[in-house]
Amino acid sequence: MNSFSTFSDLIAVAEQQQKSVADMMVDYEVQKQQMNKEQVWQGMDGCLTVMMEAVQKGKNSREKSVSGMVGGNAARFGDYMKGSGILGPTAQKAMCYALAVSEVNAAMGRIVASPTAGSCGILPGAILAAGEALSCTREQLVAGLFTAAGVGLVINEHASLAGALGGCQAECGSAAAMAAAAVVEMAGGTPRQAGQALALAFKNLLGLVCDPVAGLVEVPCVKRNAFGAVHALVAAEMALSGIESVIPPDEVITASYEIGCLLPKSLRETSEAGLAKTPTGQAIEAKLHGQNSL
């Protein structure tokens, strides 16, 4: 099996064998699971289907979450997009799709944790919007998910993908880094450019805290997914233009781990500080827990 622990390992082998990161990850999974390529590909293709279904469901739904805090904003944004807007259609689609998937998640719909449920809108938002702009085939979209998985595996190996361990940088930061690398390869960029996109996207979300109101995956999570999807596209475009991160991808990943360790526990998914403890956050918590406690 091609061994890699760091992203620089992954890039070195990819360049040597003239493969994409996506190809490398398909090979990796084939060896790891002792399955054939078709089975591994079908598994990821199934994930893409669930992502697309969640986008469609979320765009057309005005359903609220169980708590009533979130829901209906993807549809609202879809109406707004029919006008001209400011950012242009690809960024707007990324926002809308990310909101849609994240709202489906909050309303107990079916999603793909990518890497987590709290950050499940970023990757589909970015790759589906970019895929439309780039006229990607379904195969290219599935390959993008494999690229994203490669980034996530390296982050998981050296840092964390869990908000409880690393704050929201570990969830939404990782998701944006994964999406940025995926979009680069979908656009025909090199593995090195994918690594640069990973670094650029992740760097700008380092230190992001996890402070969900009332302990629920809703506020600020849902809207943060929309920001994360566009964030990934910004990083991808920078990398595709040839802009490089001064700090290499693996060092950014290590920094995310160190920053996660330094974050106080109160800002790591415990809802003991930050937005969760604002007057409004506390009022919502009191209302939900007061009414619904056992």
Partner: protein, 220 residues
């Protein structure tokens, strides 16, 4: 290193891999350990599960699991109604289960034949779970492997007989753990295997003289 599907995945019902998807898996494993459809269940919720279970649908997810649904089943939001229709009476209790993981539930069940089981499990992140107690015995069970569980007399040779049966069936043992409450009384064996364990092997184990109860749990 993990699988790509640990990163892109699991496919699940939202909103939380630990509070919803993991909770559903704990419920489904509990049902598998009971070995039949439960008709009554008391669910004790501890820590973060107790604090935020309603917003995360943890209650619905556990009940869905008890009904045999998987973590990606779109019927999870309607699980409480479906349980009532299926004749499953559920009670939720907020509990301090001691020095355990913050996302822990203890489920006491009565099955349709009157069989009882008590299963405690923790949702340890990303939809992964760990069953930590079965009927008061300390265990470590992930649900990711084909698992054989026996409750048997704590006498020499039983474990060897069980592993011999599996060896004959060409089943490779991945993990095994034996625990007991006191020497010479009753013991519990948990065996996780790489290959599926056939019904034939299960029957042979279940009919061993000193084995009181045998349970076969498929990967969940």
């Amino acid at each position: 290193m993990k699988s790509v599907f640990d990163i892109i995945g699991p496919i699940m019902i939202g909103p939380s891999s630990s509070h919803t998807a993991g909770a559903a898996r704990i419920g489904k494993l509990a049902r598998a350990i009971l070995g039949e459809a439960p008709t009554q269940a008391t669910v004790k919720l501890h820590g973060s599960f107790a604090q935020t279970y309603l917003g995360h649908g943890t209650d619905k997810a556990i009940v869905a699991g008890l009904l045999g649904f998987s973590a990606d089943d779109e019927r999870i939001p309607e699980a409480l109604t479906l349980a009532a229709q299926a004749g499953l009476a559920i009670e939720f209790v907020k509990a301090d289960l001691g020095d355990v993981h913050p996302n822990t539930a203890c489920i006491e069940m009565v099955g349709q034949s009157g069989r009882k089981a008590q299963v405690m499990g923790s949702s340890i992140g990303g939809g992964s779970v760990l069953i930590t107690k079965i009927n008061g015995y300390d265990v470590e069970l992930t649900g990711e492997y084909a698992t054989l569980i026996t409750i048997h007399e704590d006498k020499p040779g039983i474990v060897a007989l069980v592993t011999h049966i599996l060896a004959q069936e060409a089943v490779n043992v991945a993990f095994m753990r034996v625990s007991r409450q006191e020497r010479g009384a009753e013991a519990l064996l948990i065996l996780e295997a790489d290959e599926p364990i056939s019904h034939h092997a299960y029957e042979l184990v279940a009919h061993l003289p000193k084995v009181k109860v045998a349970m076969l749990v498929s990967p969940i």
